[in-house]
């Protein structure tokens, strides 16, 4: 048990160090790709809170990203706010949107919740398309561009802050309540955990994270339009969460790197065309669900415990 804790801290430390040092060796273009990884990191972190820890499936997190992204874009484009100052507001608006979806979601279970959130993912970009007076419609809004270094620094700083925040939320009373709701709603309710409050809070917090991710996403792309937040985005966030491991905080990094870097790796190595990426993603999701439903985290945990068991079983000299 202790050795796995040490191993985990070592992995997190090494990852944090690698992320902090990476901008010094990357080109400016690669840095903005690294910023994209941070965006997905934040979004998957958010999804993990509601789906991984509270057990409420959401296929609609792209919609919450859209809401955060449009908040940032409209405030900077039309009202002259500075970009970074819009991020807390994007989180707040995301939180509100999450609560709005979360309240009716209290009455839905499993499949129905998947259905409703899936529809949210498809409906929100259409709303943005329709009210073009605010959102710029199909063409969208263009924002000032930033250097890759600025984007990398800003997005990973946000990611680090939110990671610590998520860790603090999940290790304390709230996190225990979330897990109780996930594992058995009846048991949770009979131990005095209010299902309504904690499910709504989980949705709100999760959507606030997605809102920040959306706002960083818009800054990295330096424009916003409805296609940026299509169904694909929602599905990719879910893939990232699943591959990294539902209910695992450090699996989030694996998931984010996976959805952002695998397409780039495939395309640049000319093994396969970029067209094949969705096919590979889809196949991997099904494989993960069939073999290791808790994702990369589970796989690594199994390997670590296997090694620990082996070394403790080995006869001492």
């Amino acid at each position: 048990m202790r050795s796995s804790l040490v191993a985990r801290s070592a992995v997190i430390g090494a990852a944090a160090l690698a992320i902090a040092l990476a901008p010094f060796i990357l080109s400016d273009y690669n840095r903005s790709q690294g910023a994209d990884v941070a965006v997905f990191f934040i979004a998957i972190l958010g999804l993990n809170i509601v789906t991984g820890y509270t057990g409420q499936i959401s296929i609609g997190h792209g919609a919450f990203m859209a809401i955060g992204g449009y908040t940032t874009a409209i405030l900077t484009h039309d009202h002259g706010w500075s970009e970074l100052s819009t991020i807390p507001l994007a989180a707040l608006v995301g939180f509100a949107a999450g609560v709005i979806v979360g309240v009716p979601a209290l009455r839905f279970h499993g499949t129905y919740l998947a259905l409703v959130t899936f529809a949210v993912a498809l409906a929100v970009p259409q709303v943005a398309k329709n009210y073009s007076h605010f959102t710029g419609g199909t063409e969208g809004l263009v924002l000032p561009a930033h250097s890759g270094l600025w984007l990398y620094g800003a997005s990973w700083t946000a990611a680090a802050i939110l990671f610590v925040l998520a860790w603090l939320i999940l290790r304390a009373r709230t996190g225990r309540a979330f897990r109780a709701v996930r594992d058995s709603e009846v048991a949770a309710a009979s131990s005095g955990v209010s299902l309504a409050v904690y499910k709504t809070v989980a949705f709100g917090v999760s959507a606030a994270f997605a809102g920040v991710a959306g706002s960083m996403y818009v800054l990295v792309n330096n424009f916003v339009n409805p296609d940026l937040f299509g169904l694909t985005l929602s599905l990719y966030i879910l893939i990232g969460a699943v591959v990294g491991g539902l209910g695992s905080l450090w699996g989030v990094l694996v998931g984010a790197a996976f959805i952002q870097l695998l397409p780039i790796g495939l395309t640049s190595s000319h093994v396969l065309s970029s067209q094949s990426v969705p096919v590979i993603f889809g196949a991997i999701v099904i494989l993960v669900m069939a073999l290791v439903p808790r994702g990369a985290a589970d796989l690594l945990r199994a390997i670590v415990s296997f090694h620990v068991r082996r070394s403790s079983n080995a006869p001492s000299p």
Partner: protein, 333 residues
Amino acid sequence: MTALTRTLVPGFRIRNSWIVPLLIAGACVFLVIGSVQSSLFAQQTVSGLANGGIYASLAVALVLIYRATEVINFAQGGLATFTTYIAWQLIDWGLTYWLAFAATLAIAFGGGMLVELVAIRPVERRGNILTIVIASIGLLILAEGAVGWIWGAQVKFMPSAFPARVFHVGGVAFSFQDVGTIGVSIASVFVLWLFFRFTKVGLAMRAAAVRPAAARLVGIRVSWMLSLGWGLAATLGAVSGLMAAASPSVLLQPSMMDGILIYAFAAAVLGGLESPAGAVVGGLSIGVLLNLLPTYVDWVAPALLLPVAFIVMLFVLLVKPSGLFGRTRVRKV
């Protein structure tokens, strides 16, 4: 059976048995009177019914799988797109439309069974609903991705089975396209009903869906019935995809069925998710509603149709989660 349903207001209960037929009859009377009054209304209603037929066949496909496994198949639309592209390819190779249609349905049936066997069964063995739902989303990404990989992301042109002419009934122009779509969709659902009602395999499938354990005891291979269900659902999905691709308002592209899937969700939920008849009624209602709303209500732009379908779905789920035809279920803990 006392099918009582609680509404939003606690304590106020309505009897299920008469209010639903009354609602449907009322809607029919409204549509008929409107059609007699205005030819635009009649035209929009008929093309709404045509769209509704497309939604209905996809919704029945969803219901088939939901009844058997209590899981919504998110890949239903993606699989339908894939089979529609197969039909396009066959026609491109020189087959006549109806020959390609029949071949596609056969391929869809086999493909659906294969998908269940390869992608769903290994997951189901492990799993809770969350895992299967995510696997079906993986399947959706896979199917749409495969379409883009094989045939490219550009829009293809799909010929229609029906002549692009109109005919007049009492001063109202109806297109062959619309009437043909309604005919094919309803006919395919009807054939499916005949299959379930009058064949031994159909009976076995119903038994396997309702009481898997008891069905197993009387010698039904429940897992094969599940595969068969996926095959039939994929076939119906193929009908829906082919009719959608022939419609002038839908373009044949990898994401063709994404929106239609939401309309089919709304249709299935409106009908009660467990009732094929409900899915048909739901599909037709959603089709007509989404065609009449933008015609007569100014602020409902075409871009808002998806949000409207979403609101209908949310409304049904909140007010009467069992839909028009579904039974209220008691959930086990």
